[in-house]
């Protein structure tokens, strides 16, 4: 039977990985991801997890090692953050088109310069197009559940794609929350053993990762795109089954007091809990404000989002990433594309907030809503606005 315990979220994630009975963990330290792999290496050292823990010499090798492991047919996990994720970047594109179902938890953190260990989403947004399935967790329970969900989806033969679970660094990774930890039997019911379609084996030799000549390269990329889009069905089914078994229901997008909302905040990750408090506060003042939270980031759940946004007139999108020189933040960009030429589409305003650990408070959300509503009355020149920049 599941047990509810007060536990640090990183450790809960490690517990999920242990319950998934992974075969290999390759990792390199970087804050704020370290607690996850430290805990896993402890479990391996104490015989609580029968896996190879490979303490590699860099994140580049961590991801390379994971590729080899997954190609050999092993259940494979790693975790990273920020500069470490960036160092992996070259390799990240490879397991996705090669369809290697590696699972990675990213404790999101800002990118240099200036060096910052604190949370925002810049590290993952530069990796947006690596072709992995990506989810964002809001709280510790979700971080635990989504990690198990990731193995289930990634390794499903119809999917066979690597998957990232994003958890906000520190603000989520390092907090202690009451979390229901499933027991081994429950996990076994949900997560079947990994049965790869192909594996490196001298008894059945195959060539993996060959040269893609111009006649085949496009087709390989299209096949990958189609697989990523098609994975949504399996993602939803795996969430449905999770709900049936354990009672917690997850969806690609979640709404809060959005039915009659005229202005909707759009968030990803752990700031969504503060956003809900802000929505409550604004509702008390009689404002028709609600919240839409994106849980599934890739493949982007466009249909679900349009439905969730309902009849809102204004969307205030919060991006935790400032892409210099771009027309607007990545989430804002995606949503503009989702609503392009949709009749009666809401006006979309993009806000950049919470960079490098800057607090996003109830007041920040109130300011954002106010600004979005003011912009909706005028024709703003800028496609996005950075919130709370100190002048002095």
């Amino acid at each position: 039977m599941a047990k509810r315990v007060g536990i640090e979220v990183s450790i809960a994630v490690a517990e999920a990985v242990k319950l998934a009975d992974v075969d290999l963990v390759a990792a390199y330290p970087i804050t704020p991801q370290t607690h996850i792999v430290e805990h896993l290496s402890e479990d391996v050292a104490n015989g609580k997890l029968d896996a190879e823990f490979v303490p590699v010499e860099s994140e580049h090798s961590a991801m390379s090692c994971c590729c080899g492991s997954s190609a050999a047919g092993a259940r494979t996990f790693t975790a990273s953050s920020s500069q470490g994720l960036s160092l992996m970047s070259e390799i990240l594109y490879i397991p996705s088109t090669m369809r290697l179902p590696i699972v990675m938890v990213v404790a999101n953190r800002a990118l240099s310069a200036p060096i910052s260990i604190w949370n925002d989403h810049q590290d993952i947004m530069v990796q947006r197009d690596i072709g992995w399935i990506q989810t964002f967790a809001e709280n510790g329970q979700e971080a635990f559940d989504l990690t198990l969900h990731a193995f289930r989806v990634a390794e499903d033969r119809r999917v066979s794609l690597p998957m990232i679970v994003n958890i906000d660094g520190f603000t989520l990774s390092h907090v202690i929350e009451p979390i229901e930890i499933l027991d081994q039997e429950e996990v076994n019911r949900y997560l079947p053993p990994f049965k790869p379609r192909y594996r490196l084996d001298p008894k059945k030799p195959i060539t993996m990762g060959p040269v893609g000549i111009p006649e085949v390269y496009t087709e390989a990329k299209v096949a990958h795109d189609q697989a990523l889009k098609a994975s949504k069905k399996v993602i939803l089914k795996a969430w449905d089954e999770f709900a049936e078994l354990f009672g917690r229901r997850y969806q690609p997008v979640e709404t809060y007091r959005s039915e009659d909302a005229e202005t909707l905040l759009v968030t990803m990750g752990s700031i969504s809990e503060t956003a809900m408090t802000a929505v409550d506060a604004m509702r008390e003042k009689g404002q028709k404000v609600g919240l839409v939270r994106i849980r599934l980031w890739r493949p982007f759940p466009a249909q679900e989002f349009r439905k969730a946004a309902g009849k809102a007139k204004v969307l205030a999108v919060i991006d935790r990433c400032l892409p210099p020189g771009a027309p607007c933040g990545p989430v804002g960009e995606d949503l503009r594309a989702v609503f392009y030429k949709v009749p009666g589409a809401p006006k979309i305003f993009s806000f950049v907030a919470g960079l490098g650990g800057r607090d996003v408070t109830v007041e920040t959300f109130e300011e954002i809503v106010e600004k979005a509503q003011a912009k909706a009355r005028k024709r703003p020149r800028e496609l996005y606005e950075v919130i709370g920049v100190r002048e002095k």
Partner: protein, 312 residues
Amino acid sequence: MIPELEKFKGFTVKNLPKDEPLAPGHRACQGCGEVLALRMVMKALGRNVIVCSATGCMEIITSPYPQTAWRVPWLHIAFENAAAVASGVEAARKAMARKGKIPKRHVDIMALGGDGATGDIGLQALSGAMERGHDFLYVCVDNEAYMNTGVQRSGCTPYGAMTTTSPPGTESFGQYTWKKNIPAIAAAHGIPYVATASPAYFLDLMNKVKKAALVKGPAYVHIFSPCPTGWGSAGERSVEFAKLAVDTRIFPLYEVIEGKYILSRKISKPKPVTEYFKGQRRFRHLKDDQIAYIQRRVDAEYERIARLAEVS
């Protein structure tokens, strides 16, 4: 002595394996020393092996989809990470065998890379994998430049050689650094087996590769591999140049078994380096004083290894 090696009888001309795990019909240039070496490597290893290749000539010429020259399981991920990928394959198989997910059967794991993939961009991954002690062999096919991208200098390009990024000119005589000593770097990791080899001495090469596969833990084999395309040499003379490199003492053949140096071929009457330089466009601009300098260093390097072999 390493127990696995004690039992090893070695290949002779009479018992050479007939099987070709690397199929003919690949796309290497005529006279390619790398693919010749690789063919011997695979003959020595047989088919009970998983190969992780780095990007480079050998990867490109063996795997243009939908063709493949590999009759063994083969995986390519990127340029600099063959050793890290092999670490993953090896460690994963260990875990899976322990957990009963795959049969407990030994399979050799080989990582393969050019001199660039090995000694420059991939040195970190190689070092990490050797340090961690994975049971795998790393084979470097050294053609002394980045050939796959059009003959640029690498850390293994020899002193004075012309490449497209070490061109001789009014202010330059070509490559101005001495060839990086990767076998010594590998040996410094304290791994059980390190060797240098040449396709001109094919039995020696095959035996070293087989030994590298037999020892438990990391093993490293550095194979001198002429490249007519990059060197500006005649394709039919590749084996000759490989032989000359050894006989001039430019590329000494030796083993380092558990730290002990063993010369595989004593070159007591070396040929002058000029004999090796002749017929290779990459050296043709060298002046007499530069050649004399190279001769001195070549002799000194050889003596150093010979001394190591005596004292260890």
